[in-house]
């Protein structure tokens, strides 16, 4: 699971109002090289919750992202490279996503998050 996907996931448990961002528990991180595509990064930047991405990347052991970001920074190659790496190249292979409100853990195995709910959570 890329951090891009982490940035798009919220706790879906019934009654939870503040389910984003999910806290990451890391067991195994894998890095996979991806070709950098500037148009894609520019498109995605507008959709990303920056603070959640910064926090998530630090949990995964990457602390190069600045605390704050604005679209003008997309002109910097260095910024793009870091954004690209955090968003697409860091994969949570094994671990869990934790609901910030209830502490319920959603397991991540072989890079696939399991967001299925128990009957009493729907």
């Amino acid at each position: 699971m890329r951090l891009l996907t982490h940035n798009m996931l919220s706790s879906n448990i019934k009654g939870v109002t503040n389910g984003f961002p999910l806290r990451i528990e890391v067991e195994k991180v894998v890095e996979k090289e991806v070709d950098l595509n500037m148009d894609f990064l520019r498109n995605m930047f507008a959709k990303i919750e920056w603070k959640a991405l910064v926090e998530a990347s630090r949990t995964m052991g990457y602390s190069e992202l600045p605390d704050d970001a604005e679209s003008s920074m997309l002109d910097s190659d260095e910024f793009l490279r870091k954004f690209h790496h955090a968003l697409l190249e860091l994969h949570l292979e094994e671990g869990a996503l934790v609901c910030p409100e209830t502490g319920r853990k959603f397991p991540v195995n072989k890079g696939i998050p399991n967001m299925l709910l128990h009957e009493d959570e729907v």
Binding site: S10, V34, D39, N43, N114
Partner: protein
């Protein structure tokens, strides 16, 4: 030459996962036939709900030129075996999609709201007793409840929430699902619809419907609502199936 769609011998399988079949091929053929429009559209987020073997999402990624062309592919399935098989199929083709084990798009709806440019769905559309819906394993790939509509009727409101302003939804349906009624229902939410592929097999008659969020249709639907027209009047005034296209199929080789 690289294939534009997934190769069947590279599609992974599992006893509890639905193998690519006529409906999967129909959906991929419809996407292939619409490829020029898809490329022109430059989708940045593409999503499949119910990815099963991964045949469709892999084909979509291949026919749009893999991920490096700049799209985020995300695929969901409620079946834990299916998400694994999808990952294997993607890997075998050198493609990447993010795969999430979830019910429809649960957990993704908030943040992906109004963001998905292209959505593809081959839902469980087979009419079955209602109690068969929601069973684990391979039954989740086909059990559709009354008229095969139980799961489709859950997916459409989610699609409406997730699709971007110019979002497209490609949906496989069966005649028994009442595609005309589905089109009218989506029209009220502001979608133009077109049957882009129809195919009859020995067992079933399949349609692939393309829904496009469209401002003119929304305005028209609002006007009709304001005039309190009934569905029947709407249906007779103009068919949502126009323009209506039927492809004839023989043996085709896409390699």
């Amino acid at each position: 030459m690289l294939s534009k769609i997934a190769r069947i011998n590279l599609v992974s399988s599992h006893p509890e996962v639905y193998d690519p079949c006529d409906d999967s091929f129909a959906l991929v053929d419809a996407l292939l036939a619409d490829r020029a429009n898809l490329l022109e559209r430059h989708p940045s987020i593409c999503m499949e709900i119910g990815c099963g073997s991964g045949y469709v999402i892999t084909s979509l990624a291949l026919l749009l030129g893999k991920e490096d062309s700049g799209a985020y592919y995300i695929a969901t399935d409620i079946n834990p075996h299916a998400v694994r098989v999808t990952c294997e199929t993607l890997l075998a083709h050198g493609c990447h999609a993010e795969v999430v084990n979830t019910d429809i798009a649960s957990g993704l709806e908030k943040r992906l709201s109004r963001s998905v440019d292209v959505m593809v769905v081959n839902p469980p559309y087979v009419p079955t007793p209602e109690e068969e819906v929601g069973r684990h394993g391979i039954a989740s790939a086909w059990a559709g409840g009354e008229n095969g509509r139980s799961v489709i009727d859950k997916i459409l409101p989610v699609a409406d929430k997730l699709l971007s302003d110019k979002g497209w939804l490609y949906l496989v349906t069966l005649t028994a699902n009442n595609p005309l009624e589905l089109c009218l229902q989506m029209r009220k939410k502001g979608y133009a619809s077109r049957i882009i592929l129809q195919r009859s097999t020995e067992e079933e008659s399949l349609h692939v419907i393309k829904f496009s969020r469209d401002l003119d249709t929304l305005l028209e639907a609002n006007e009709c609502m304001a005039l309190n027209k009934t569905e029947n009047e709407l249906a007779t005034e103009s068919s949502p199936f126009t323009p209506f296209s039927i492809w004839k199929y023989g043996k085709r080789n896409f390699n």
